[in-house]
Symmetry: C3
Subunit: 266 residues, 3 copies
């Protein structure tokens, strides 16, 4: 039986995560379910999609069940995908699965599961996580073929979620903010290679958004308390932290903003 | 071994949920434990009881361990129940288990477990979840007979928790508020059949508490942003949502309030 | 395979807990992982260490994975320990593991794991939970020898975390505040024996910090609403609660403060 990795914005105050687990165990008794996280910002598809992309390389081969679904009950499609490297991803077709699927080699097979034979007998228009996506994930974990889960659709029609590439100039990288974590650390859509292309090397003084100075270092602790550090984070993205504070607050940025990192004279 | 579904108001800041899991694994190694939810409103028995009632149909057959227990250490009874459809429910006798047990066909067998042979050697007066309820649940999961868990008591003496039935008149349903979820959606103690009895049919304009208008629709998205929708929710109850807002705040209701839904001219 | 009990300050908003679970399942498929708690006060080593000490007796024999690691990426050591009673504890050498290891009979064997052969191929300087500690814990769960996890170090060099002993005088106990839980209950570094040595027995009137009166009772419910009760808590420590309120707020104390409990005339 394949493990299922489960991500949602359901939170732990209501019973929603638990009943999805219940449905999975009713269909696939003993299934291993890994809770990636469930206290995500509600209805924030972009946040969940990028977080899933970051988590994927560390999850076991098997099924990903992801549900951040503000369009539940509308005509948005419900899908199950197989990526080139064999991951199975189940969730709404709203961009949520796209970055992870791309990172997993791209989408090889896609099926529409709204009318899946695996769904529960009664499908509520407001809780497809429980009635549709969890049952499909559980049957895939049991070894069902993707073709049996729904009707084939063209992989190229899956809703994309793309983040702008960074712009790299001499001694400046301007990049989109991917995610802000609970500590206010700011993850940028830029890699160490982009910094190097701009001539910014570890140890350099950097100016952020033209307003704060910091150091391009290796870890949080390299900045004095209250000061900024730019570093390659644990997902391989360039990020900004403020030692003991919130970089997002200090720099006044949020997910979807862009931020410039420029060399400076210390 | 039977799965255990576990609900509490312990939260995830303290070690309480974890040590209950630890106690279960020490007694029943490898037991499957489903966490229904643990960030419930502290000490709110009614909220937890109704949430458990909603969750139950989606949980696997087996044991329910539920602990919301403001009376721990007093003379409130501690019980384990078997419902007509074979569910085993363990927790304080304060109303918490009652709605779920009724929904499961009623209570067939009840035992008082305060002095259970399955309890830990030392029972703290303030943490029966760990010392009494989790061990009883674990032994039941292993297959122990309910009779071995405690002394038989009369099922009819189990503390009830009853919600008033809706009052249905021509073009008006007045119903108790069962639950308010994290989004502020308001779940009412009324069914679609009550709406129909009142002559309110999907598509109708409805007035809420004499102060807000909305539509009796099928899902959240049928209301424009900021407007109310009345719908049959995923647990089969009539509910009120405000698209992009909190219905509870807009209507100024909370669990235990009552709310009228009346037909109106749009 | 040994069960792993996992404690961290990662929270459930980000993917950090989930990817540690993912790494464990990739290495040790089917491993039982108990989440002790993850919504701890961020970077509060002392809080986590004392909570782990309290939880330990109720966790199954096996591996403890604990990560509260503000010094990640600095030269603080990363360690795996075996206690006299056979527990295996993995985490940063910053005091976090020390109280639990002492409670488990003391440290018998210690290894430094920063360069462990079990770590992931690429170790991020900011996420040793995922790249170093979770893999080491997973391999120990599979049965790897502690000696294979790292280089032996002297147990006596493990960073201690010691809480001052209470001072006991006639009719007064002054003790350090160990922990404040989510309800504001205040756990003191004092035992029932200390109260007895001071001549304070259950039923006594007690004055707290010279400002509030209460009763030395057995459980919360013995105080009228809004009043304080001193009691032996579920971990065997003397604690203060305010019925329906926050003792920490009423007494203006926090973890690390000290508090006097003195006899009084009611």
């Amino acid at each position: 039986m394949l493990p299922i990795s489960f991500l949602s914005d359901y939170g732990h105050r209501d019973e929603w995560v638990g009943v999805c687990h219940g449905v999975i165990q009713r269909i696939a008794p003993g299934a291993m379910v890994i809770d990636i996280a469930h206290e995500l910002p509600p209805t924030d598809i972009r946040h969940a999609a990028l977080m899933l992309e970051n988590a994927l390389p560390f999850l076991p081969a098997g099924v990903v069940l992801a549900v951040v679904d503000p369009g539940v009950g509308t005509d948005r499609r419900a899908v199950a995908l197989r990526s080139a490297d064999g991951r199975l991803l189940v969730g709404p077709d709203n961009g949520l699965l796209w970055p992870a699927a791309q990172a997993a080699g791209g989408i090889e097979v896609a099926v529409e599961v709204s009318a899946s034979r695996f769904r529960l007998d009664r499908v509520s228009p407001t809780f497809h996580g429980r009635d549709l996506f969890a049952p499909v994930a559980a049957h895939l974990a049991l070894g069902a073929a993707l073709d049996d889960a729904g009707a084939a659709i063209e992989p190229a029609t899956i809703t994309p979620l793309e983040i702008a590439s960074p712009s790299v100039a001499a001694r400046t990288v301007r990049a989109a903010v991917r995610l802000v974590d609970r500590f206010g650390n700011v993850q940028l859509q830029a890699r160490a290679g982009d910094m190097e292309s701009a001539g910014l090397r570890p140890g350099a003084c950097v100016e952020l958004a033209g307003r704060s100075q910091g150091v391009y270092g290796r870890t949080f602790a390299e900045a004095p308390p209250g000061e900024a550090v730019v570093y390659e984070d644990s997902s391989g993205w360039i990020a900004v932290a403020v030692n003991g504070g919130s970089a997002a607050a200090v720099l006044d940025v949020r997910a979807g903003s862009s931020l410039s990192v420029a060399g400076c004279e210390p």
